[in-house]
Symmetry: C2
Subunit: 330 residues, 2 copies
């Protein structure tokens, strides 16, 4: 007999808010990637073109956690027409000692949203200037909002500017940010204008064409580029990448899925460039920002290590709260 915790989205939203603890947990995962014998295989991807659907499966084992997550992330892009969200999914939590299933976290993608936003905050904590206070947000989706919320935990943010392809979406975003985060937020007319006065920029779009160009950069800027997580997505122009200090979550992923991939393809940056991973910066093995004038770009594609970290936090909270439904598998 094996007792398995089944935990729904509402419970997970209540127990695992996007807070400093979540950011610290994700930071620990990045540090592990640089210092421990982490096992993180390539992402499993299933495509269902007949249904405009795709599924990613990510996993990673980090010695510092007693359990590991296997995360299933479906994206079905005809769902909105059916009144369903495009993205959903769940995380399985398995014991790292026995492989037994400990929990099924039916988060519908919530924990992914949290760990993704937390990673953005970790990037800013290590790479943005400590006095950074003005943020440009490129994209106006849910993750844009969460990135800003997470960023405000690690830096004293007092002004935001948003740009999105859809002006109404940008206006709604600005209103929401003012209402819910209490941060003044204006709408920019273009990306260049959004970045002009920013200390930190966050790009959170599924764009297939670069949005940030070399001419948009200025001394001291930090960019967290978290939109690109697939071969065809590209937010940062190769020349902009080459002009900045480039750091990423995982070289083996950004080389094929992230911004670096496009810079390699265009011949601007070598495929074996000695870039640093965020975990190496955290662990002190590679330099991050070296002066107030550096332009830093942190390219985040999302790692199974983050999933294992946030799932471990969720399981700890679920157990402490006695939450979830216990299923006894006989």
């Amino acid at each position: 007999m094996n007792a398995i915790s089944i935990v729904g989205e509402a419970t997970l939203r209540r127990l695992v808010p996007l807070d400093l603890a979540a950011i610290d947990q994700v930071e620990a995962a990045f540090a592990s990637l640089a210092t421990e014998a982490v096992a993180m295989p390539p992402i499993l991807r299933l495509d269902l073109p007949q249904h405009h659907g795709e599924v990613d499966v990510k996993t990673a084992y980090l010695p510092r956690f007693d359990s590991f997550a296997i995360k299933v992330s479906p994206g079905f892009f005809d769902n909105p027409a059916l009144g369903l969200p495009s993205l959903n999914g769940l995380m399985l939590v398995l014991s790292a000692k026995t492989g037994l299933t400990e929990a099924v976290l039916l988060d519908n993608g919530y924990l992914t949203a949290v760990r993704t936003a937390a990673a953005g905050a970790v990037a800013a904590r290590w790479l943005a200037r400590s006095n950074a206070s003005r943020v440009a947000v490129i994209g106006a989706g849910e993750q844009a909002r969460l990135q800003l919320q997470a960023l405000a935990i690690v830096r004293s943010i007092n002004a935001a500017t948003v740009w999105a392809r859809s002006q109404p979406a940008a206006e709604a975003f600005a209103l929401n940010v003012r209402d819910t985060l209490g941060i003044q937020c204006d709408v920019a007319h273009d990306v260049h204008g959004a970045l002009a006065a920013a200390d930190i920029a966050i790009t959170t779009t599924p764009s297939r064409e670069p949005l940030v160009h070399a001419a948009d950069l200025h001394a001291g800027l930090h960019i967290t580029a978290m939109g690109s997580d697939a071969e065809h997505k590209n937010e940062i122009a190769p020349a902009a990448l080459a002009a900045a200090r480039y750091i990423c979550d995982r070289l083996s992923q950004t080389r094929v899925l992230g911004e670096w991939h496009h810079a390699i393809e265009s011949g601007v940056v070598a495929h074996d460039a000695a870039f640093a991973e965020l975990g190496e910066v955290i662990a002190g093995k590679m330099p991050g920002r070296t002066s107030a004038n550096d332009v830093t770009i942190c390219d985040l594609t999302g790692t199974g290590a983050q999933d294992t970290a946030i799932a471990a936090l969720a399981l700890e909270r679920v157990r402490a709260a006695g939450a979830g439904t216990t299923f006894c598998n006989e």
Copy 2:
């Protein structure tokens, strides 16, 4: 809100026995592989050497089914010392139309055992002589027993011979087969002796050294080799493979994980040999057995298509029976 069926092992054992319906379901999956736009990505594998553990994740989308499975198969080889089975695991069933999770089948590997045995029966149904009645079983584990049980559904089996590295295990197996399947079963002293009088041989071991050699083959024999599912495993000697008509479940898998892999390495068979897949034989696209004298070898490494097929059958039965626990994810 999304209603998810949580189904335990005992319920699945009751609702999805190893029977003709299971064999037909798995046969349909093989046919799909040869005739439909199946999406079956490479297996995701996570290794946890610190804990003598490994996890395989398999998935496949088959247009003929409304859902697809994502199967998680952990193997943790220190578990027996803890009083736990080495192998366990579960299957997630997702809607092929929306990606929403429909069921969590907590089968602890039971459905894998069923679909693996069913695949062996499918192989024999298409490749063994129709009057085959005598079986040699190499290996004496649980899957050896299930393979024989499944085989007896598709051929009139009246005698079995078992060989295993452990003589007591072979004797216990023979006794069990006589008691539970009503098939006379003797213990052979070596593999050659086991195969000498057999029409069908099933190899079900994790051997790292070939057990079946060219000299063990005789006209009319069919071998289902289902033990090797990893680079280091090898049951059939390269020369034996070269001397037979070789068919497999999936060329892309057996080329790297199965018996073919070792025949390529030893230079006996080309890596681009025009071998048939079992599904192509079922679909009539490639020849299987062409005469009563052919020696056929079917190399099974296990496919996500089989998992999707057996999971679809399980979900259908669970729904029809009103079984499982419904979890409403709000």
